[in-house]
Symmetry: C2
Subunit: 327 residues, 2 copies
């Protein structure tokens, strides 16, 4: 069974770990979001790719869901002592090695997809991890920063890097627009369209529908390839009981005019893309609305409390895909 | 009192700490060797500049004489796990920050001299530290590597970076030639010639006469400026009792045809450059030979066992300079 998964960071990585447990022999290709990649200290950092790689490769900090286990932060402390920031982005000493190797390979002319493959040679995540594109795409968020006390009443409107919005500002101000800068000019990385064309099933894990899955779909050709693949496309709601399970998805959903409900996210993907949708049991009431929109829907537990729970979610998603296929 | 010191790494740094203790109010400019700079993991590493900066700034690992105190090596361990080397060069997590800041500034267009000044803004070494040049100079060592068992009898002749010779090979094979690649085309960094022209005294600490002080003197203009400054130039022998106090200076002295004795090193610098020379008390017998060569010489204890001992050496060097001046 060939499965393609479009993944963001923590939610995608944890779902993938469940999927690997549920169907260990499946051939899984992960198309990773690179829209939240950022250059820090002259190094290229790919938070979502690394979270998937570390989680599946056994190197993740389990508690926080990102970064390395047994991590220290001496390098970052020293950068701060030099007055070199940003201080709000938590790069650990072990994690730095990944970014140094990546940056060195990119400087030597390797595309990100080849670099990711080389990094995975070490981590052996058990999936094929491909960045959505080898081109630079950077998600920016338009915000109005609070008035800094000038008394003039209105704040400064500016575009900030997604990481600055998410990590530094902690989504504390409304996202007025989300722009995947560079997406329109980008091309899918080698292997992305081929994997989709050869897939038996495409899954959207409970990743952020705007800045994770949405950014991947913004790379020209990927959405079309999925829609035209003729195989079941099943997603899992990242919204449970009208609130994001993790992170602040509601903030970025508002920016694209989508309400923070499991049903609204399904409608946002739309029946032209999505064949099946899993909502949490607390959102049982949303099933009817989603099905009315032409998307087959089931209510099952969607809290990834541990790997077993994530594996059960993966089994439910695969079962729904088979239901879709049988129609 | 304006003092210019030509410094290599550990020996130079420890002498400078003694000098600062001996004459805390002196205006000291250090011209640092950059011939052993090396690019590692895409980062520019300046071992000698950093050793001076960390030693005078209170961040040095006292026991080993280079690198940072309270250091960890997690990043390096991870690089090794990725199969990325070299493993023989010991960069610690804290130390990495210096190289990251330096590399970022150089990428942004700042010359090494400006970068060094910025790094010193944090460390406050109490001296003005200037790299000998902003241009790239890299000391290479011609060696014949031992036959690797092919049975053909003769080994491979090749040029290796000085760090590879010193740190990786530990000078285990003879240095057949020492070449400061790029030196001929280099220019002294801004401030170097001015500092020499305005100096009251020029000191050569017990640094390596070939690959440290010798490399600095190989930058066109520096040797001439010192010779023409018309002020006392006094050096301290790095050779005590026919052996280097530290390191493997004898190996590189052999490459330039100089015997490993305190007297031979003085003659190597020559009376055209050097006015005074301090040898250790065990080399009392060398005094006559050095003076016969036209260089004023004194025998005093030259073991930098602690800061007080280094301070006493500095006082002896300054006293000899005043003797020279009085002639």
């Amino acid at each position: 069974m060939r499965i393609v998964v479009l993944a963001g960071g923590i939610g995608g990585a944890r779902f993938l770990r469940g999927l690997k447990q549920a169907v260990p022999d499946a051939d899984v290709t992960v198309i990773g979001n690179t829209g939240d990649d950022i250059h820090l200290f002259g190094l290229k950092v790919c938070p979502d790719l690394d979270t998937v790689m570390y989680t599946l490769g056994g190197g993740i900090n389990e508690e926080q869901g990102w970064g390395r286990a047994d991590e220290t932060f001496h390098l970052k402390e020293e950068l701060a002592a030099y007055g070199v920031g940003p201080e709000w982005f938590g790069l650990g000493d072990r994690d730095f090695a990944t970014h140094i190797v990546r940056t060195q390979m990119i400087s030597a002319g390797y595309p990100l997809s080849a670099v990711t493959q080389a990094l995975c040679d070490r981590w052996k995540p058990g999936v094929r991890l491909i960045p959505m594109t080898d081109d630079r795409v950077e998600t920016h968020v338009a915000v109005t920063l609070p008035d800094s006390g000038s008394g003039k009443g209105s704040g400064e409107r500016k575009a900030v890097h997604f990481q600055e919005y998410w990590v530094r500002l902690r989504a504390s101000v409304p996202a007025e627009a989300i722009v995947p800068v560079g997406a329109e000019q980008s091309k899918p990385a080698p292997g992305v369209l081929e994997a989709i064309a050869e897939a038996d099933i495409v899954l959207f894990p409970p990743s952020n529908p705007v800045v994770s899955v949405g950014t991947i779909l913004a790379v020209p050709g990927i959405r079309e390839a999925i829609a035209e693949a003729g195989v079941p496309v099943v997603g899992l709601s990242p919204i449970v009981g009208d609130a994001p399970v993790r992170g602040m998805a509601d903030k970025v959903l508002a920016a694209v005019g989508v309400e923070s409900t499991a049903a609204a996210v399904a409608e946002h993907y739309g029946p032209g893309l999505l064949d099946g949708w899993l909502v949490d049991t607390v959102d049982e009431g949303a099933v009817e609305r989603v099905e009315a929109a032409g998307i087959r829907c089931r209510a099952v537990p969607l809290m990834m409390t541990d790997v077993d729970a994530a594996a059960q979610m993966a089994r439910e998603a695969l079962a729904l895909a088979e239901e879709v296929r049988a129609v």
